[in-house]
Structures are given as structure tokens and as C-alpha cells.
Amino acid sequence: MSGDVLVSARGLEVHFPIGGRGLRGKPAGVLRAVDGVDLDIVRGETLGLVGESGCGKSTLGNALLRLVPTTGGSIMYDGTDITSLDRRGLKEMRRRAGMVFQDPFASLDPRRTVAQTVSEPLEVHGLRKGRDKAARVAELLELVGLDAGVAGRYPHEFSGGQRQRVGIARALAGEPDFLVCDEAIASLDVSVQAQVLNLLRRLQRQLGLTLLFISHDLSAVRHISDRIAVMYLGRVVEIGPAEAVGTDPQMPYTQALLSAVPLPHPKLERERKRIVLTGDVPSPAAVPSGCRFRTRCPYVFEPCDDVDPALQPVGAPGQQAACHLHGVVGTPVSTTPDGVTTTP
């Protein structure tokens, strides 16, 4: 890793109480959506965040913008700990960090014109007024490849891809330096996905943005990212340069995930060995002790039960994996009778 770190999470936790009886009842359990994440996002890079549904990748993205309350750990944003920011500080931080959402049909207000939607951040942060504002909206629309003439139109007049462009223009309005894209291409058709992926790449270079690209689509993530982080059950289990993680993964989970991605090459597909994982992802309310992947891991061995693996450097420079196969590194755990761990 090189360059300075823009966003840095240490021991980040987002736990939700679940299953309480009545409004005041004590919660029956804890859902560990994000459970001890250490993550550095370097200024100007695109970090891809992948994982299966329920692994906590969206919650992590939300937590980094403080859209969900964190229950532990810290998030440094350009040197400031944002977990303890007051309202004013938070407002400024949110100008500097934007978000592009998954569903372009749900994330735009159907009763507001494109201009109203895109200019809202300008008003909230008091950035532009009057004619300046209209000019800035036109500039933003052109930046994302829309005609400035569409400013007066309503979302229903647009296709999914165009709506996603409007969403990106809105996210860019406050001139952020950090953009979180949460499944931003998931609901688009292949040919439109390509348009939006190319747009994000161009914007990232042109504006020097730092991008967190959250997606379950490994091919897309590999395409757009400089580095890739893989999440499993609330933890980052592997991270490294996109090329290294994409071609030479060191963590058995990443290996299985990659081998399951279907490739559009019939000949390659026939020869390829697929690692089929058995079972489903365990519930984040009952995380296995030790290594959280051990219940599905084909290589499980002794230390996996009782040592919670930490990320350790393996493979290419800058690549890290949390797996005992590369040497037992981590925190020994004390197991409670029901098999649920408590990390000291």
C-alpha cells in the first residue's frame, strides 16, 4: 500500500440487538453485522468490497459514512474520528463523502425533477445559489453523461441507467472526495452496467475520487478496483491488489468465491475446477468460534476452532489473508457453552 490513508477503520463493530420481548425487553441476541473490521482506504484508490449477501458489506459501507450507529471501534476520516462527531461536523463530513445507492428506481424522489434532486446537496450545504446553482447542475449532468436539457424532467421519464447517472450526479454535487457505491450496478442490464462502470472509472480518474465499490459481482469488482477486500460474516478475511486477489487468492473462502464465478468462455468453463461450498453462510447472530469460515472450509484443521485468525501478509506485496494455513496468527478465544464466541 502506498499513499496516504483517507478512511481508516479500526476494530469497527456494528452490532444490532435482536429478538427482544416487547419494547423494553432485553434483547435475546446480538447480530454481528460488522464484527471487528480493520480497513484502510488510500486516497485516490478504488477499493472493491465483495462478499455474499448478509456478510455485512453494505452495513460496513453505511457505517463508514455514519449512516448506521457503530457499536465499537473507530473510523478516522482524513485524520478526524467521525464516530464522535457532533451534528455540524457530521454535516461537513457528509458533504465530503457521497453515496450511490443500488436501486435507481427507489433512490430518486419521483415527485422531484432531476434539477431539484441534484441541487439538493448544494442547498443543504449552502454551496451555490440562483444562477450559479443552475449552472452547477448543468455541469454535473454533463459530467455524468446526461444532456443538461434533462434537468426539468422527472425520474419516471428515464431508464434505469440514466437514473443511476442522476444518482451519481447527486452524490458528486457536494464535491466529495470519497464515494461509496453500494451495488450501484446490480439492477442494470449488462450493456448498461458497462456504461456505468466506465463512467465511474472515468470520474474517479478525472476528479481524483476515492471510491469504495461494494458489490457481489466479482467480475465487476475486479474490473473497476485497484484493491479488493473480501468480507465474510462481518469480517474482512482477505485484502490486496485486485490482480493478486483476483488471480491468486490466499484465503479458501476467496478461492471458493472466485471459482464459483461463471466465466463467459465455454471451453474454460468445462475445464475449470469449481470449489463448491457446502451449506449456507452461518447466521451473523451465531458466529462460529475461532475462524468464522471453518464450518464451510474444505481445509479446516485444529487451530481453526479456537484461534480467531488475524489478517497476515501472504502472497503478493500488500496482500493479506486471515487464515491459519499460512501460519497460526490470531487471538485465542474463550468459548461460551452455546458455541458463540466472545472476542476478548
Binding site: S159, D189, S191, Q193, N198, H223, P262, L263
Partner: protein, 348 residues
Amino acid sequence: MTAGAPPVLEVEDLRVRLRTPRGPADVVNGLSYTVGAGETVAVVGESGSGKSVSVLALLGLLPARVATVTGRAVLQGEDLLTMKPERLRQVRGPGAGMVFQDPMTSLNPVLTIGRQLVEGIRAHGDVDKAAARRRAAELLAEVGLPDPEGTLDRYPHELSGGMRQRVIIAIALSNSPALLIADEATTALDVTVQAQIIDLVEKLQAERGTGVIWITHDLGVVAGIADRVLVMYGGRCVEDGTVDDVLENPVHPYTRGLLGALPDLAQPAVDGVVPDLATVPGVPPAPTDLPKGCVFWPRCPVRGDARCETEQPPLAVIGSADVALPHRAATWCLEGTSGAGSPEGGLR
């Protein structure tokens, strides 16, 4: 694949016109294909290409008030499109089973898994409740669900997405259909679960010789499972052939655009940078307002022929016609693409 044996399904000139507030929409425009026993035909296309409607029409699942379906669709010797509704209902179970996209909504949330399975089994066979329940448990075991007996008494919300999709496949297979139609059956699932489901369908297909129509937009999935591929655009088949022909040597500008637009995990980076994706500009045509000539010409980067705008290109054989599955494409732009070595916009 279809060595002499009659195909399970033979579709000929299938057309579907829907009545919409904006006038008639020609959603499927002359689709012809066959599915042999044990064969997997992948129907590929983007949203609005007519791929789902074309199979809903086959099974009589489109409301007659709005849909006009013409053509022929012969399933095991009987034409589905002229069949009486009662007969069609009998055919749906043992003749053709269907797996829909969304495992969250295609099960009834207030009925147990057991009841939903038993219902299907008893509707098509003279079996008592106890026998049907035993059969249901067998089916659940067959699709790889742990604790099949226990699962029978559980409700859909107690199962994960992958488990639900297995239940739906079990229901679709409960009457050993000759044809299985999977409409985006793995789209809502994670890749690891998708791999499990694909393995399952392939295994069951090999055991029973079921013909499969797999509808998807994911060309990666197609490469892994299909024997034959049919690419749909604007309600027409624009290219078809064996999976190798269509994905390795695509001819139609749309197929090539689609493949070029796909981020490819197998593509090596050049100087640490993966090149930009090729894009297909514009959006697919509205079925109420299809272009007069080639359906793709308004978005086509080639437009190599004066006829593109005015005349519809027929689905013509490319290369050798003397093979079991000729490679065909509906485009005027064959010259200059087929012989030109490695076409840009295709694979790498």
C-alpha cells in the same frame, strides 16, 4: 444430443402480441427452436427482450385478455398453444415444470413446504396423502436439503434463499417433467449458492434426461451449462448455435457488444490496468415501436448495409449448414466480420 430421438419441445414461429395502453406491443416475433431430451437450451437477452414472455406463453401463463399468442409449440407430440385449459393444466406438471426467478415470492408464505409439494404431487397422480408425503421427502433429499422430513413441516420464511430455490426445483421436478424451464432461476442467489443449484440441475438432468430451457442474462452461467444458445433482442432471435459458436465466435453485432460489455474475471490486466469495457450505446427498443429493418440497427456500431434500416434480416446459416446445430445469425452485416479474424468487441 438429439441423435435421432424426437425433441421434447419444438417451437415454431412463436409470436406474442400484448395489448398495452400505448398500443399493441410485439414482444415475441417469430421464435423457432427445439429442445432435445437431456439438452440445455439457454435463452439470453436483456430485460425487455421477450425471453420470459416467450416461455410464459408456451405454458399458457399469459392472461388471454391481453395476450395474443400464435405459432406452434409441440411438447411430446401435443401443441401447447391449441390445447384446452384443462389439458394444459394436466400437462404442466408431468410435461413441463417451471422454476421462477424469485425464491422469496414464488412459494406461498402461509403454507408449509410439505403442503406445497404434496399439492403438486397429488394434482397429477393418484396417490394418497401419506405416499405423497413420502415422495415429497424423497424429493427434498434429492435436491440436497438437509433434514428433508423436518423441512416438510417448515414454512418458507424459515429457509434461506438457496434452500427455497431447492424447494422450488423439487416442486418443479415432482412430476418428473420432460421439460424444465428455469427463468433466471439463480439470478437472486449468491455465486456460491448459484454453483450449487447449477450442479443440482445438471445432475438431475443427467439422471432423468430432462430437456432444460435456461433463461438468463448471465453469459457466464450460459457458458457453463448450455448446449445451445439463443440470443434474443427486440423479441427476435438474433443469433443461435452451439454454446461454443455463439460465445467464442459471435457474429451478430449485438452478441459481440454484449460480450464486450461484460467485465471478465479471466481477462488479464495490461500494465496493471484492465481496459475499459466496450459499451452498446443507447437502450433496447420499445416493443410498441420496433424499428422497421434490423431490430438492432439504431444501436448498431456496424450498420454495414443499406438494408439495415429498411429490411429485416432473416436468420441465416453462417459457415457450414451440414452440422447438427448450425450457427445462425439475423444480420446484414456478415461480410467483413466473419472472415476478419478476431473481431474486436468479441472475446478479448
